[in-house]
């Protein structure tokens, strides 16, 4: 396995795990408050639709000429990764409230409790909420799998890494039910953001004609460089926050 494939597997696995935790929070809230049958049917419907998307787009992406594909996809990864890192740094330094799965769970349950009585058999509210939660979070996983997989011409490997994350988080979800707040989401998001930005830099560079020193080995170096920048930002923002006495929003 090349260094590029190792980083690909780790990035897809972590990104899929983060999105799965978010989806699981919504699905468990729908299942508990509106009944499990409709919630699980919503999940199944969303997974079928996502599977169709991957099956339709995956082979098309692999056939696109490599350099333009690397520039477009690398650009998307750069933007997406920088957005993740921005949120992660602001959360780590207290300038943005942390992503609290317990709060999201409580809010979802409350919203669904106000959506009328639960119908016997199939409940449209529970189905729709579980479907939407799974589909939207899953769509982000699909984008990560297709973009990272296509630029490395290894959609199959990326899909396997995503599947492993889905199965693992699903199993953990069954065991711990809704105790999802314990997942170190911000740390995982930082790691994923670093990898997305590193892959994005590498692929856009390759697509535009940059010859990276060490070829694929440049990816772990980029991860280290960006990690250092993130570390410096976190330290300096924490210091300025303490010095200025700013409170988290």
């Amino acid at each position: 396995m090349t260094s590029s494939q190792v980083v690909l597997v780790v990035a897809v696995f972590l990104a899929s795990s983060v999105e799965m935790v978010e989806a699981l929070t919504i699905v468990v809230a729908a299942g508990v408050s509106r009944g499990w049958r409709s919630a699980l049917e919503g999940v199944a419907a969303a997974l079928v639709l996502l599977g169709i998307l991957v099956a339709a787009l995956g082979p098309v992406l692999v056939k696109v000429p490599l350099n333009p594909l690397r520039v477009v996809i690398g650009g998307i990864l750069l933007v997406f990764g920088l957005q993740w890192l921005r949120k992660a740094v602001l959360r780590a330094t207290g300038y943005k409230a942390p992503h609290d799965e317990d709060v999201i769970y409580a809010r979802t349950v409350e919203e669904m409790s106000q959506s009328g009585e639960v119908r016997a058999g199939r409940d449209p509210v529970g189905f729709a909420v579980a479907f939407k939660g799974t589909f939207l979070e899953g769509l982000e996983v699909v984008i990560v799998v297709l973009t990272l997989g296509a630029t490395d011409h290894d959609v199959g490997l990326a899909a396997l890494a995503a599947l492993a994350a889905v199965v693992l988080v699903g199993l953990v979800g069954v065991v711990v039910a809704r105790q999802l707040a314990g997942v170190p989401e911000n740390t995982m998001k930082t790691a994923v953001g670093l990898m997305l930005v590193s892959f994005g830099s590498f692929w856009t560079g390759e697509g535009l004609g940059v010859h990276w020193p060490g070829s694929d080995l440049a990816i772990p170096v980029l991860v280290g460089v960006y990690g250092l920048v993130v570390g410096l930002l976190v330290v300096s923002l924490r210091r300025s926050r303490v010095a200025g006495g700013v409170h988290a929003s």
Binding site: L82, R86, K96, G209
Partner: protein
């Protein structure tokens, strides 16, 4: 509502779904790539433009050295903007 009006309304809704789907698709990508951080999208496009220029008119070495610096500068700028907005 009379049954005829209900049927007409349902037909109109059915006819409008491709437009709604297209709008939702566009909305998703706009949120995904721009959202509340347009500076990241703009800076990324500028970065790619600079890299193209460096590869064509200077050297590949200059391009690979400058690319991570510009990406790191974009991250720093957007984080500082986020701090001011908080």
């Amino acid at each position: 509502m009379p049954p005829e009006t209900t049927t007409q309304s349902a037909e109109a809704t059915a006819r409008g779904w491709p437009l709604r789907a297209l709008r939702a698709f566009g909305h998703f990508w706009w949120d995904f790539l721009v959202g509340d951080t347009p500076e990241v999208t703009v800076a990324t496009l500028v970065t790619l433009g600079i890299v193209v220029g460096l590869v064509h008119w200077v050297s590949s070495t200059a391009a690979w050295a400058v690319l991570p610096v510009l990406v790191a500068a974009t991250l720093t700028a957007t984080v500082l903007r986020g701090r001011r907005a908080s």
